[in-house]
Symmetry: C2
DNA sequence: GCAAATTAATGATTTATTCAAG
DNA sequence: CTTGAATAAATCATTAATTTGC
């Protein structure tokens, strides 16, 4: 019969909830080992693969950025209009820099104390952990790693690098465009998964 | 200690030669299984990983395109100048369309009969092959695939698709910009690796 | 109500851009 | 300067929402 071979991953509400929680906590580009662990944990709630997690973070991050860009553009537009209006009225009260503004709480609020989660098992995502699980050496890629997730054998010193940007608190510098990077906490050790299975909280988006 | 742990892959001349030959034969975006096989074969000539092969093809393709773009831009510029000149001189002899031109042999010459190779072992990269090696089912991703290369479990009907473009001979249509896609032969079955080890033909780029 | 048609979200791939080693 | 490596942006394609005509 082949009952629609399920061409693409369809995340369960629990999986989605956990992924969003991780994202809200600052995880943006998980390493291969992190992806593996997340996948392992999420696979409890339904079929899932590493690439699904990887793609989810990529897409979520990108679309968040894009949403913010639109919002900021609109805001800038408003500001521009307002400023013109103010200029026209000879008020000119603040002359805000378009680079340094709108980064305080407009970007993302990472506090959000009314999370649906209450207990977490803290999982350490440190270099030690990676060495301990990856197989050890990290000096001679042991041919086993190759048939793993790609990006798995991280290039030795790539554990905390996030390319051009520093992963710590550039929320208030505003480089050249809204390429924000929130990163509320060191991002090395993340408290992750809920210990109790939600199983039924799926239909409560915002009580 | 740690005598510079060889931060990145340094392809041997043989590896490079084979990769370039594969590229010249039309391979542009190898599937995970292809990458595995290529990697396996190339690992005979030196340490290599799947991601190296993957990145090599990505970069080569991208930089080829970019090179061509530059060349075409320059050509267009020349044409433009020439045309203006011609217009200025009231010659106007051909009025060539900028879309339909320069696709005949400017893009890439895939014939090049003076290849340094003479014998190949043909390796079939067909759907059958993929099924046979991937583990079989392709309907229920068997959890083993997950810890493979990503992109490994192709979405069932993804074997020949090349996105918007047809992989066969659009070399003369000139769509809207030089997003060329040569693909000189069906790309399903590729003759691949030389049976004799070249070992010393590495320094003959064009005799 | 409900199924076909349209549209919006979003998972999955490819392409462009960037960084850095040699 | 070339090129391996990695991420970000753009794009494709499929599933879910939503609408529309009955």
């Amino acid at each position: 019969m082949s009952p629609s071979p399920s061409t693409r991953w369809c995340p369960t509400p629990e999986q989605l909830m956990i992924l969003e929680e991780l994202y809200r906590r600052g995880l943006r580009t998980p390493k291969a080992s992190q992806i593996q662990k997340i996948t392992a944990h999420l696979s409890f709630y339904g079929k899932i693969q590493g690439k699904n997690v990887f793609y989810w973070f990529q897409n979520h991050k990108a679309r968040d950025r894009q949403k913010l860009r639109k919002k900021l553009a609109k805001q800038l537009h408003q500001h521009h209009l307002l400023q013109q209006q103010q200029l026209y009225h000879h008020h000119q009260q603040q002359q805000l820099h378009p680079q340094t503004q709108y980064n305080t709480h407009t970007i993302l609020d990472f506090q959000s104390p009314n999370s649906p989660f209450h207990h977490y098992s803290s999982i350490c995502y440190s270099a030690q952990n990676l060495h301990a699980q990856g197989g050890g050496v990290c000096e001679e890629v042991p041919e086993e790693v190759m048939r793993q997730t790609w990006k798995a054998d991280l290039p030795k010193d790539f554990l905390m690098r996030t390319y051009g940007h520093d992963p710590v608190m550039i929320m208030d510098v505003g480089p050249t465009f809204p390429c924000c990077r929130p990163s509320p906490r060191p991002l090395e050790t993340l408290e992750l998964f809920p210990l109790r299975s939600p199983t039924a909280n799926a239909k409560e988006p915002a009580s």
